[in-house]
Symmetry: C2
Subunit: 443 residues, 2 copies
Amino acid sequence: MSETELDIASVAQDVLKLAKELGAEEATAGVSYGAYSELTRRDGRIEEAKESRSLSASVELLVDNRYSTHSTSDLRPAALRAFLERAVAATAYLEQDPNRRLPERELLGLAEVDLDLVDPGFVDGDPEPRRRRAEHVESSVRSILSDQSVRSITAYSWDGRSRSVVAYSNGFSAESERTSFGMAASVSLEEPDGRLPEAWSSCSTVHATDLWSIDTLSEDIRARALSRLGGRPAASGKYPMVLDRRVVSRILGTLVSPLAGGAIYEQRSCMADRLHTAVAAASFSLFDEPLIARGAGSRRADADGLPAHRRAIVEEGVLQTFFIDVYNSRRLNVDITTGSASNLVVPPGRESVADILSGLDRAILVDGFLGGNANPTTGDFSFGIRGGLYERGERVSAVSEMNISGNILDLMMRFEQAANDPWLLGAWRCPTMLFDDVQFAGS
Amino acid sequence: MSETELDIASVAQDVLKLAKELGAEEATAGVSYGAYSELTRRDGRIEEAKESRSLSASVELLVDNRYSTHSTSDLRPAALRAFLERAVAATAYLEQDPNRRLPERELLGLAEVDLDLVDPGFVDGDPEPRRRRAEHVESSVRSILSDQSVRSITAYSWDGRSRSVVAYSNGFSAESERTSFGMAASVSLEEPDGRLPEAWSSCSTVHATDLWSIDTLSEDIRARALSRLGGRPAASGKYPMVLDRRVVSRILGTLVSPLAGGAIYEQRSCMADRLHTAVAAASFSLFDEPLIARGAGSRRADADGLPAHRRAIVEEGVLQTFFIDVYNSRRLNVDITTGSASNLVVPPGRESVADILSGLDRAILVDGFLGGNANPTTGDFSFGIRGGLYERGERVSAVSEMNISGNILDLMMRFEQAANDPWLLGAWRCPTMLFDDVQFAGS
């Protein structure tokens, strides 16, 4: 903590003390601080160097068994008092809801594990590595695309650090801190017919040493840029869909969001009656794994302050659990699990994506989504997609302006296998996935 | 300004003083404060009462002719100094860019007009009108939908006040303040086939007395909810498109965004060579009107501090101006206009929407967009749409899961007429608009 940095733990305690003074029976205070630096290079020059700082507080109040949540970024003591006075007054309008009481103190705690979420090499204020990274990204991308008609290249590099504390009026409190490092590039190419396909690639990690090599980033962006050339719809029909590891969240998110306790209580979930039944092909499993060292979604406690641990969500196709936080466990009268996902892991398979594609007569590799929507109550979805058409492993053409639509339960039953390439740079740690017989429509 | 409220003008001056001390030749400081209260009722009970406060500062620096922008919400004096030290240091990495110097002092000023952007009846802290509004919205919507199978009704009401100041190191500064009031509702219905169509309606104004009557809101949401029942794609083909006044921004935004000076300088604009040429049918005009009293996008000065005034963007189909701020006027060596739009106004026509529809053998009324994208460099667009199919003014069916695609210049040439129903509750003050021969595709 640098000299000028706010002591967020003591601000959180001040909020709790004030809230109690003003009449709250129970309160939770969260305070977060973030410092972030970013550099942008565009076509040979540094275009932007941006520093940002964020500081904010949230408070949950229980006043006469009435519950409310509020937020502020004005943390001056006099302003904080005025804000909390208003917040306590506003709470009086709500219905009583004793289910909102804090979890029992003995449930609260932190998993006893070092998640390694702070890079000890992070030097707050040193812009040199950031500057070098952006410069190398741009020159590497320019060099690897030297045989192409490049209209523009933009390179980004950034790093930051955030700290947060949550404190409960029952005495529990937890602090966490994490660093982040990243680099990215975007390119636009020119096609002879005047089209200007664009592509980007990005890599973000908790420790600087875990970043990709810059060569890996530029090879990735070359592959993605070339794959955009000449995009057009393929013939409408059913194809095997090979879903790129970086975009599985769009599909699996449609599976996971109806598992939330709130959705189930409010009857907005197509999963409500499906616990311990098959919701996917038997080859599909999905785990919530909060304790992965350096993981993008890792945490020692969940949002209720309960110690985090690994949990099967779907195992061999069978739904194992909902995401039930303390509040919804009381409303639904079911056991607490955890209110939200941390890192979501689909176990990788043995074959490479290339091997999977070469075993298919014809398939569409989906590596981007464009618009669309999904209805958690019914599971119906419709998404715009782009990617490539393959025949026995050979790329035939780029695909754009197509849609897939259907129902998530039906789609998950068509899951065939996972590739051996799990994505490890985000909270969705999933490999590329193959689904059979997916309906594609040209628009 | 209440007792505990921060003196944002003096914070802005502190930022300027510190920036100069730390070596900036020129600086601009913006400080904003907002207070916002919101109430949510769902199915008969108040579900949420939320207070929020936001306070943040942005700073633009020119150090040795190098320019950078930064932001922070940590306004404690010691933190502000540390932040500005970092910001000044980061600026040293940038190329020199003297075009970024502040505008000449004599260009800066405020239009001499009272925009009436503060409702004198706004009582900071009184939750009663907000509570009554949410209650009446919910009961009115429930009553008007009593013949329908309603799954859920949610009603919202909110009000807030924001103040901001911008100060330049050349001595110019400007403060502004505005109030806002709003109400909204969302409903989900149940269809016999298990589908759950949803609809919402919303109204937000600067003065409380300008809000719709609650009856108007509930009639609107009934019409919108019923129009969702039984939605399906119509046959693919060319139809006249009647574009609802509340969603014209999706189409006209595609026309306006390539007019930005930055897009033109960076060759990302399909409009670059089209000044003073026809970019739309001769029946189409579009004006930027910043000085409308109580307007959602109204302002006395633009983002550069130049006094705001009315401006024709397109007149009788001919493009009259680009959006050129001070920086881009120097880069492009053209006259300054203004860098961004305020209120965008399409003059209304004489016929009602019903009259227009009844004059068409077959037409699709588009009242919602779902996903899609537009390319400012080429003007090509593709959007998912929903709405209704009409034959000689009779609604035949709801339409969903369709796309429109084409080029914005081509589409604007197909503009036929504006209806007599200008929307006055947002910064896009446009009537419903008729376009001929638009390509619709079922997905």
